[in-house]
Symmetry: D3
């Protein structure tokens, strides 16, 4: 029995709100249950130094958590003077995942920065960030098309992410904080809309997990990601 | 004529939403026109080292701006590894202003941290932060009363803040970004509900200002702050 | 009764020594009572990146305090690896105040850096810095005229600064450390020689202050700044 | 055809040298082909603050690469003043993986720090680090047993790691640098000696991968890790 | 012929002003020619953690240069966020040299911090710092005796320092900036009043130097240090 | 009697292994007794900004110690976020010493970086670094000749370094850790193959030393450095 009463393959309610703020080329508030992340996509007319003159664009991501997004207050990373290893790990994951969604050559010499800032955390902030950032990215790419900054839409396919895990011996989909903090295994999976796997990060906590459990978790993830991509497409109209 | 069409003594629409997020002891989204700031108040059972054993509490504030709260993207301070001088100046102002609202001895050996994070900026983010943080503070103090962490409410009086300025030769109330970026003078004023002045920070940009203009701006500020304190009290029910 | 025995509108003795060190284009030791600040003005043949090619110059300021300028030793900011919020706030104030004294277009593509280093502190270091730095600035501008780095003197008017406050219920001029540490209100005011207000920063400590007290403090400040500008002009011969 | 001429399920030659340096409680040079990592295990009589008084120990890891371990010189992280996101990601992985190998309660209030420093890199440095660090850990635990710092050996089981990937359409075991830099998929797998999965991190580069490819890579990894654990046990005598 | 017209064994004029600032337990302005360094000695009632409970004191030093102490402006180390290697090297040298002057056990559990801040630089700032800091140290130790913080004066002997070098083929004493920047060899020597050598740091620039030149430089240094110790004693009355 | 049983003028066994790692243009493991340092020389096709367009090259050095090179573990400098004063002092010494070995104009617009990383420490790591780095430098210069990056070999002469000291009243050569930690005087000397002195850094610990002791130490150093240069030449074949 899951703390939330959900069945093992049940996602939390999903809410995707576009144009949540007004300045960014894409701005999406994604809510997966009580987890709320503001994802903005910003377009700049330049590329990092290592790509200058290579006729391609770049996509990168940054992640942050407001100090009181969590049960107890976390120190502000800007005040401490550095981003934690966890933050860097997450923003590298978001960046790699979304780079898989775009054709960087079609993007031309532009950089898209995806900022994922967690307003409220209840487990699954990194996967919610990826799912929400993909919608913000689509809005930004459409903006670029309208402004004739690109000729062809560089979007290759939608990308979404979800966590799965083994909770009290049972593989379950979409762990919330109560499950996450006591799960035996926690795995984050990123896929595209064609069920292609982009990223897979699984960690055993306490006990290890078997290849069979891996297979069961992959099946749950595939179903969950289909539903998330459905929700993304509905939001995008 | 102001860009927004407002009269010289007209505030932008004010919206104060309590319990905007669920974990903090006080959580307020304050909207002054298009400026939106999330203010949370977090209570901790300890005090900074310099106050240990002195039978009093502490109140401090931190301020941040999401990278794309603004027209063009700002670098993330956590990624740069330090807070700008502007950020530090603002969070020191917020902290001093709200410390004026509480009796630190009645607070006992607790620390309240006010986090003001700008989701969307359109001028006046520091004054909106103070106005919103005061409401979050009241909610946190009431939480402490309910939990018997304090015996008497340490609140001395409500505090609010507003900007005034000289725009195209005329003193005006509550500058938005369009005005702020071209005003001759910009002044931020913090007052309590008894019209007592807590902080005053005025800066001439280009031209200087006279004692008479100072008087006119003070009058506008006093009226604006009365309206803001009204709005705070309405929000608090 | 003031600790120093001064009347409420009496400045401390002022001493302005030019050419205190030999390398800088302007080098001034300013002494206001026991507060001693070394202010140097350095001229460079370039401008910050954001002004390149805009046919104008720049003026900026940095502030520091020697570790034992104060009653007890403060940690060295260079050793701690960052400037405090207080330091940044002060150097931003000095920079804005002195930028109001020069016509940046007449300055051409040069940068003037004003370094204000406190050798000994007894209250009012930031206002003494502004008053002294203005003299160093004049010397540097005259150096530029002699060297034909500018055609017309970019100086618009002299600038000076003073603190005022409410001490034991009475508005007083030019707080020393003994007063500053127990004043109810502390306000720093920057004006030009035509009584135009450039900056105003007032803070209530404990009690708030009224608009009437504000008016009384402004009158004291105006008188004090007239005397300081007199002293600057005498020093400049 | 692999650049090295190896078959798809063939590991590079493995060399494990114990007591490579003399001060550490465990010191192992692990060589997997041309990748060489020095792994030391250091025992300290204390635990981090968050574990004080909880009757358990801690194990943590740090990772570094000598500046010229690679084809072209990398900047030294100590000189740059921070560890890269990649470094932090890797040392977090090593720490989690090896914590899975020990019973932290049996360890008592001691901390074991595993330092993995890459002397020469040719792909697979993070998995070689885990494989080598496990041997250093065993030596350190035996040292603790001999010195009566622990009563029972806290080792739960051996742990080893290997990379697998899809190279030119074919799943292969143990990617070297030439393969790694052009593989379609790169996956790092950590297992214990009972084939339990501890960590799984797979990344698609360019193309995505399918659940079937995942299964084939898992099978390769399981075989490779068996061979590595064999080599660890041989080295440990 | 030396640029200054001095003979090869001639020191620049020495000026030692005690009580240059009022707060420090020792405060000395030392002037060696145009080099001017403010040296303060601060006494604290505690010792660094590594000496707690060992019944001995500590002495440490910090060094800084005002940004415009030099011909062209140097960046402020506090603003850059770190001390240069040169600064750290110098302050370590000053600390070691002056620790040789005191009996740390007689000092008791106190720390003396020597701050050497260069107001104006013309070569030889590190040796002037040592010479001046020793006088500030004596004043601080006498203060401790008067305040009964120590029973016996912990001073072992006076310490002074001077540079020597090979300039245009000739060994010379006390290099000024013009000589220092083109000397073939530059050596800093610290001695006590009994001609015992405390520190020796010689560097060849361009050409190497011979053992015979070393001997000649040592003789010059010994004579110069005798004169400096004379000047210290005169200043101390 | 020395702890190691060596005579006062006896070096520890020397081992110089070239091509210890495969990527660097020069890669040398130098072993002086139990001290082991990996020295790599890396060639880059550019020069630092301050040398751009001056038709000369640059040589610089960096030094590091693996955390467990020592008896007890030292914190990793990359994790702490800065290099210690000791590290900076040492790498500046190595850089200056080896710059004395090359003609920077013959080097052309290239930079050689010498990385000296201590794998195991038993005293004398800085002098071993210099001795080993010189061999790596020669290999790198020969590589440049073969690749026609330089026309003439920029090597001026071999450089080596050794420590000497006064141990229990007797001048001795090549202090190991046991001696170093209790010696009265510790001196590091860098010479070229013609007995020219390049660097000299002597420090008295506790007692001072005399000019006569200095002479005796110089004689020991000269002999030791001759042997080291012999060993370098043998290694280079």
């Amino acid at each position: 029995m899951r703390p939330s009463g959900r069945t093992s393959n049940q996602l939390r309610p999903i809410q995707i709100t576009r144009q949540f703020t007004q300045h960014a080329e894409g701005s999406v508030l994604v809510e997966i249950g009580d987890t709320r992340v503001l994802c903005t996509a910003s377009v700049e007319d330049s590329v990092p130094r290592f790509l200058k003159g290579k006729n391609q664009g770049w996509l990168t991501a940054e992640y942050g958590m407001l100090p009181r997004a969590t049960h107890t207050r976390n120190n502000r990373e800007a005040a401490r003077g550095k981003q934690s290893g966890r933050t860097q790990e997450i923003q590298r994951l978001i960046g790699r995942s979304l780079r898989a969604a775009v054709d960087l050559e079609l993007l031309g010499e532009h950089t898209i920065t995806l900022d994922c800032d967690v307003l409220q955390a209840d487990g699954g902030t990194r996967t919610a960030s990826i799912t929400g950032a993909c919608v913000a990215l689509v809005d930004a790419l459409n903006h670029m098309l309208r402004k004739k900054m690109v000729k062809t839409n560089p979007l290759k396919h939608m990308v979404a992410a979800i966590s799965v895990g083994v909770y009290q011996g049972t593989p379950v989909l979409d762990l919330d904080y109560a499950e996450d903090s006591s799960a035996e295994t926690d795995m984050n999976i990123v896929m595209d809309e064609n069920k292609g796997i982009i990223e897979l990060q699984g960690t055993a906590e306490g006990a290890t997990f078997s290849q069979q459990e891996l297979g069961e978790m992959m099946a749950l993830a595939q179903q969950g990601i289909s539903e998330l991509i459905e929700a993304q497409k509905t939001a995008l109209g």
